[in-house]
């Protein structure tokens, strides 16, 4: 087994100091910088001590993936290359993670769908890969516009799934995500999602940690399963392969393994709460009307709340940060006073509303909507309109809605 020692305080080849992650994220000075979301991904990776990044072009993550290539050229990443498709890239990521590397990749929309077979395999193999998902439409006719439908397909893969609202979330959560993912009792992949274009292609002020600090390297020997590097004894894994057997032991083994993946998702809860300061954020949840949202729908909800306040309607807000682990208890508690719960979403099916309905008592309180999709923006006015209509208040007609 490779020598296990603390790297904290030592320097990497780029002169960055391996820093205690908690101190780096919570105590180190922050430098306000004006960056696009894609540039923020690059800056987070600069500080992530990432061993392998594998890239493939698909809008809207191509820029971020290419910028990380520049980091590789500068010597901040161990290895970097362009794979041949998202399916191959996610398998290449798996290979690198099996070999004990800290692995990062980015994808979007149809790429997420193409790679889908890999994700339950990542979780099943306990590979703590981090994948940025810059959500976009997946339907035909072809669309490259923002749409969060792909997140719903990730929810049952066994991956951790977080949904960032802003570039600041993104910067912090990329670095914190490795800390949660790599906990020995978790050791699961993380899909860190954001709404494509709205986050990736807009500029925002983001407070960055110092460039001369970086995360300690990943230690593959803290993994709950052996690292495939022939540095620990290769033992016969099983006397009889379970793959195609039809017997009770085979079923029981597979069943308990799947249960263990979801138990690990559950065990990630306390680490997620610690690192991203709770699975949800709440504002004014004593109000009778509450908006629950994730991603940039939160920002639009916040703006809608301001407009409603001007009209004397008090409205609370729940920002769902982590979708897996799912903040069921938190949402039940935060909505206990609510008579009306609105769930604005950037997708046609309303997967978040369905999750919430399945979580809380008296689910008829949930108004699934408004929904926009296919790249449409979500003006706060349509959230206001949805709420006022449901409450039986007089609503100004909105231009362009045919009313």
């Amino acid at each position: 087994m490779a020598e296990i020692k603390s790297h904290i305080g030592t320097q990497n080849k780029k002169g960055q100091t391996y820093t205690d992650p908690w101190k780096m994220m919570h105590e180190a000075p922050r430098n306000p910088s004006f960056y696009t979301g894609s540039e923020v991904i690059k800056e987070a990776l600069r500080r992530a001590s990432c061993d392998v990044m594998i890239a493939y072009p698909i809008t809207p993550q191509s820029e971020a993936a290419a910028l990380i290539g520049e980091l590789f050229a500068e010597g901040y990443i161990g290895d970097y290359f362009r794979g041949e498709s998202e399916f191959a890239v996610m398998s290449q990521c798996a290979g690198a993670a099996f070999g004990g590397a800290r692995v990062f990749t980015t994808t979007a929309g149809p790429g997420t769908m193409r790679a889908m077979e890999n994700f339950p395999m990542w979780a099943g193999a306990r590979l703590p890969i981090q994948m940025i998902v810059t959500c976009r439409g997946i339907n035909s006719p072809l669309s490259i516009q923002p749409d969060t439908i792909e997140i719903s397909y990730l929810l049952n893969t066994g991956m951790l799934v977080w949904h960032a609202e802003t570039a600041q979330d993104f910067f912090d959560w990329i670095l914190k995500g490795f800390m949660v993912s790599e906990e020995p009792e978790v050791h699961l992949p993380l899909a860190l999602c954001c709404d494509g274009f709205f986050v990736t292609h807009t500029k925002d002020v983001v407070n960055l940690t110092p460039t001369d600090m970086c995360l300690p390297p990943y230690d593959p020997y803290r993994s709950p399963v052996p690292c495939m590097d022939m540095e620990c004894p290769p033992v016969r894994m099983m006397r009889d392969p379970f793959i195609m057997k039809s017997n009770y032991i085979s079923y029981a083994t597979h069943a308990s393994w799947q249960q263990e993946i979801w138990a690990a998702v559950e065990r990630s809860r306390k680490h997620t709460i610690k690192w991203i300061n709770g699975l949800i954020d709440t504002e004014n949840t004593d109000a009778e009307v509450v908006i629950v949202a994730s991603g940039t729908a939160v920002s639009q909800g916040r703006e809608a709340i301001r407009l409603l306040e001007d009209e004397g309607v008090r409205c609370g807000l729940i920002k769902v940060k982590s979708l897996r682990p799912w903040p069921g208890e938190e949402i039940r508690e935060a909505t206990k006073n609510a008579k009306h719960i609105f769930v604005p979403e950037f997708n046609v099916t309303g997967w978040l509303a369905k999750e919430i309905k399945a979580t809380i008592p008296n689910s008829e309180r949930v108004h699934a909507g408004p929904h926009v999709c296919g790249g449409m923006t979500m003006p706060p006015e349509i959230i206001v309109s949805e709420i006022k209509t449901a409450l039986g208040l007089r609503s100004e007609s909105l231009a362009g809605r045919g009313s």
Partner: protein
């Protein structure tokens, strides 16, 4: 990994399975001239397996594992199929993840091992069936070669999908009647060895596993060339006796029949110029070593 690492604490020795005790006592990790002749006198790196009696794939597995030049630092990558019934019994780290993605897994793995162990040799060897290599995984097979990934790809060619019950595959012969080829396969056996050469492989061999000494030479060359120069590809005929209607004892003869000069598994080899030079250097060093040993023996 050194053999030291697999040693058992004396306090725990008696509770370890006997196959593990045997590995510690007499496996050939670290033996420089290991090869097929060790079979029978040392612990093989493969335990009892659940392949059909007489399956040529089991012979191939044993010869390959006996011939790996550096099993103590080799990681193998498999795919779904009959090989995935065997890999859990192999005393070399091995990865099964999905069907057909073996060369993508190996690409990521080899790069991770190179990043983590820059000053050490870590060999990666892919071993998968013909469905995984040529049909569902073809793009990843070829792209790994285009990128000059430094690992060996071994294809167990049984000319059909054996594990799912004998369906048509790309490496099946034209005209063969099989499941999913109800009127006989309509197109020729895919010429992957030629494609491998054109795709940048530095060492390509097409043969059967009827002769263990030949398998040993081919495997050793392919791993060493992949380590130093670039991708290598070995296509081995391992007939599925079950699906072609042969008995357990007839696998060897089937291979012998198929390697006659005019048959599809007549020995074919391609070696690139850099690989030729490398093999010549290896041979020269080997000769030197043997001469020195002889001289030493003479003095004694």
């Amino acid at each position: 990994m050194s053999k030291e690492r697999i040693k058992i604490s004396p306090d725990l020795y008696d509770i370890m399975p006997s196959d593990y005790q045997d590995l510690v006592q007499s496996a050939t990790y670290g033996k420089e001239d290991r090869g097929w002749k060790d079979i029978g006198t040392s612990k093989e790196l493969i335990e009892q397996h659940s392949l059909c009696a007489g399956c040529p794939e089991s012979m191939a597995f044993r010869y390959i594992l006996a011939s790996l030049p550096n099993p103590e630092d080799t990681v193998m990558v498999g795919s779904t199929g009959c090989t995935s019934l065997v890999f859990p019994m192999v005393a070399v780290h091995n990865i099964h993840s999905l069907f057909g993605n073996q060369n993508a897994i190996a690409s990521g793995l080899k790069r991770a091992l190179s990043v983590r162990f820059p000053d050490r040799v870590k060999d990666v060897v892919v071993l998968a069936g013909d469905g995984a290599t040529v049909d569902i995984g073809l793009d990843m097979t070829l792209q790994a070669w285009f990128r000059q990934e430094k690992f060996t790809t071994i294809c167990f060619d049984n000319e059909l999908y054996a594990n799912t019950g004998g369906q048509e595959s790309g490496l099946m012969q034209k005209g063969f009647v099989a499941k999913m080829a109800p009127v006989g396969k309509l197109f020729d056996k895919v010429r992957l060895p030629e494609i491998a050469r054109e795709s940048g492989c530095h060492y390509v061999v097409n043969c059967t596993v009827s002769k263990p000494s030949l398998v040993e030479k081919v495997i050793r060359n392919s791993v060493l060339i992949a380590r130093e120069i670039g991708p290598t590809y070995i296509q081995l005929y391992t007939p599925c006796i079950l699906e072609i209607g042969k008995n357990s004892m007839e696998g060897l003869q089937e291979m012998r029949d198929s390697e006659k000069p005019t048959e599809r598994f007549a020995y074919k080899e391609y070696v690139s110029e850099p690989a030729k030079q490398f093999l010549a250097e290896l041979a020269a060093k080997d000769k030197e070593r043997k001469a020195a040993a002889k001289q030493l023996a003479g003095k004694a």
